[in-house]
């Protein structure tokens, strides 16, 4: 009977085109939107080479040396320097071909075009560069005047950057906070499996549907057939999440790390929770299906919001105000499982999260079974 229920429920679910469309396309569409939005952000944040004109004299050797170094072609090229006369430089600035003019001398000064509003960031960077250059130049000049023997040491010291922190990578994952949005997206997809769990509950209760009444009248032990249907549902939803993961990781190249097997396991447990959650909500009360769908939507979105689907820092805020909620929020547990895989070498936190999710799923399923067990109704 288990396999009879499993086979037909899987067949029936696969043929629900709207369901298939929404559960599969929704995470893919939202994931693509996230990807496009975040790519834009990265592009904006990346530093482009800044075109400048330099008006220098023979004696500005130090400035020329610095500008030549910063203007060297390559990945790290900071400036694109054009040496010009004052007039030529002004023409270039007025024609908006450069961001600013660096005037040699002591101190070095900067001219920018006030009409170039959209280049304020580049102008600020140039201004900061000029300030830093002048400060260093003044410092070296002071040392040369007071302790000329230490000039060489000071220059050497300034040219070396010292890192006092050492970065050690335990995993090949990423701590990029943008990826956590994708983790939350996967968590949301797992929780939306609750809709199919709800359908199982409704289709099995005589007081909620005609199908439920017909099945209640059959000589089949309902818990076995419900278990068959839930298993079919878990398989279906998990494959959907795996397809979403494949799309995000392989097609969009979101860096999820290399622990694919563990990610698939986390998706499976996430879907188990989602379906059990929907099944439980479907079993309680005699409310209409639309109301129960509403309850599931609200709870799912609320939990996803608190786990950081919309605002990344939300989970940290919850951790500060109400830390216990992060320990039972299924969306937070699922996304944190993925996060733990990316960040920590040990799987303790990952398995801890999955164990909590699994335990909650079992509790909800058992509670739902106990309600459905009641096969005689006061009204239909």
């Amino acid at each position: 009977m288990f396999w009879h229920a499993f086979y037909y429920y899987l067949k029936s679910t696969l043929r629900q085109k709207e369901n298939l469309c929404w559960t599969l396309l929704f995470p893919i569409a939202l994931g693509t939107m996230f990807f496009v939005a975040f790519s834009g952000l990265s592009d904006e944040e990346s530093l482009h080479t800044i075109p400048v004109a330099a008006v220098v004299k023979e004696e500005d050797i130090a400035l020329k040396s610095v500008l030549d170094t910063l203007g060297e072609a390559g990945e790290d090229q900071f400036l694109e320097v054009t040496y010009a006369s004052e007039e030529e430089a002004l023409d270039l600035l007025q024609n908006k071909e450069i961001i600013g003019i660096l005037h040699g001398g002591s101190p070095v000064t900067l001219s920018v075009n006030a009409q170039m509003d959209n280049m304020q960031m580049e102008q600020s960077i140039l201004s900061a560069f000029v300030d830093q250059y002048n400060a260093i130049f003044d410092g070296i000049k002071n040392v040369a005047m007071t302790n000329p023997e230490k000039v060489e040491a000071v220059i050497r010291g300034l040219s070396e950057e010292t890192d006092y922190n050492k970065e050690i990578t335990y995993t090949d994952g990423t701590m990029d906070e943008m990826v956590s949005y994708f983790f939350n997206l996967i968590a949301m997809t797992c929780l939306y499996a609750s809709m199919t769990g709800l359908k199982i509950a409704i289709r099995n209760q005589a007081n909620l549907s005609a199908l439920g009444a017909r099945r209640t009248l059959s000589p089949t032990h309902r818990l076995i057939s419900i278990l068959g249907e839930i298993t079919a549902c878990i398989l279906f939803q998990t494959v959907i999440v795996w397809i979403s993961l494949f799309y995000l990781g392989v097609i969009l190249k979101v860096n999820f790390g290399s622990q694919t097997g563990y990610m698939m396991l986390a998706s499976l447990v996430g879907c188990m929770f989602g379906i059990s959650f929907g099944f439980f909500v479907g079993c309680i009360g005699k409310m209409e299906e639309a109301i129960k769908v509403g309850i599931l939507m609200v709870l799912t979105m609320f939990n996803c919001f608190l786990s950081g689907l919309m605002v990344h820092s939300m989970r940290i805020q919850v951790e500060k105000i109400c830390p216990w909620y992060n320990k039972i929020n299924p969306a937070a547990l699922i996304s944190d499982s993925f996060y733990a895989l990316s960040v920590f070498q040990s799987h303790d936190r990952y398995f801890g999260n999955l164990a909590t999710l699994f335990a909650m799923a079992v509790c909800l399923c058992v509670a739902g079974f106990f309600i459905v067990r009641r096969e005689k109704y006061a009204t239909l």
Binding site: M1, H4, Y8, K11, S12, T13, R15, Q16, A206, S209, A210, L211, A213, R214, R215, T216, L217, S218, P219, T220, H221, S225, E375, K376, Y377, A378, T379, L380
Partner: protein, 313 residues
């Protein structure tokens, strides 16, 4: 005497303040096509749901095949087939798959199940729609699928709850013929309907229900004998003087005469040749008349006389 297939004693069912079944008693014997007839809300479906252990009840007892019917009476349920009032099929499964799914809840053997499913499709005339999805079927065909899903496992006792509601005449005839055939094959049928013509056509015994009570029970002939009216004569006329109406009222076996909308209605209780006597009188008085009708009582007349209201009120 054999054990009744269904025995209901003193059944009381309340929906809060509403008394849905009021000390209801019933016995249905094996091989019967038993009709539960009554207007909407009379308690037919509630009775059926109580028998099937879907609904709790406040008082009384129900036995099916001599045993108490409980939600976990799987052996009893295996012998019962139910066709619900609302169509209960999976929209995403084809005709064949739907019947196979529901048959599979009763029959584990795959080969036997395949045979039963084929037979059920043939029985309701859905072979050529085997691979159709329910949304592609007309209302009548959908009802037939609903029936096939309920009877494919060849049950001994079949409940049919208003199976012909919103069905075209062709499908209705097919359904009614099918029910008679199931009975010929040995199944006991419990048929609930508010269509008295259907009940009269196929049921061997009928219970008339109203307000949760069993008002009368018997064969259709027995029920009709319970009432005063045995014949209603209707004659189309332009007019008739009042004194003649009184004369007709005094004819033998006539107990009520009225003239409405150019129609003379004469109600008779028992006796023979009532029509001839009325026509002789009209001829004697040289009264001209048009078409003449003589109608035997229907179950609606039985219901009307017992409850004072029409069956379809």
């Amino acid at each position: 005497m054999s054990t009744p297939v269904i025995k209901i004693s003193n059944l009381v069912k309340r929906y809060h303040e509403l008394l849905a079944l009021d000390h209801f008693n019933l016995e249905i014997k094996e091989g019967e096509v038993f009709g539960l007839l009554g207007p909407n809300g009379s308690g037919k479906t509630t009775t059926m749901n109580c028998i099937l252990a879907l609904l709790t009840y406040d008082k009384g007892s129900i036995e099916v095949f001599g045993k108490e019917m409980r939600p976990d009476s799987y052996e009893l349920k295996r012998q019962i087939g139910v066709v619900m009032q609302n169509v209960a099929v999976f929209e995403e499964l084809t005709v064949y798959e739907n019947i196979d799914y529901f048959c599979g809840l009763y029959i584990q053997d795959k080969a036997l199940r395949k045979q039963y499913v084929e037979e059920a499709m043939e029985f309701v005339g859905l072979q050529e729609f085997k691979n159709f999805f329910p949304r592609k079927l007309s209302g009548g065909l959908l009802r037939r699928l609903n029936i096939a899903c309920g009877i494919a496992h060849k049950p001994r006792l079949i409940f049919l709850d208003e199976p012909t509601v919103a069905v075209d005449p062709q499908s209705r005839n097919k359904i009614l013929e099918g029910i008679e055939e199931l009975n010929r094959q040995g199944a006991t049928i419990v048929y609930t309907s508010h269509y008295m013509e259907e009940v009269e056509q196929i049921c061997t015994r009928i219970a008339i229900m109203d307000k949760g009570k069993n008002l009368a029970i018997g064969t259709k002939e027995e029920l009709k004998q319970m009432i005063k009216k045995s014949e209603e004569i209707r004659i189309e006329m332009v007019d008739i003087p009042q004194e003649y109406l009184a004369d007709i009222r005094n004819l033998k076996h006539v107990y009520e005469v009225r003239f409405e909308n150019h129609n003379l209605h004469v109600l008779c209780s028992g006796g023979k040749h009532n029509l001839l006597r009325v026509l002789d009188y009209l001829q004697e008085k040289e009264l001209s008349f048009g078409r003449v009708y003589s109608e035997l009582p229907t179950l609606n007349d039985v219901f009307l006389e017992i409850t004072g209201k029409e069956l379809r009120d």
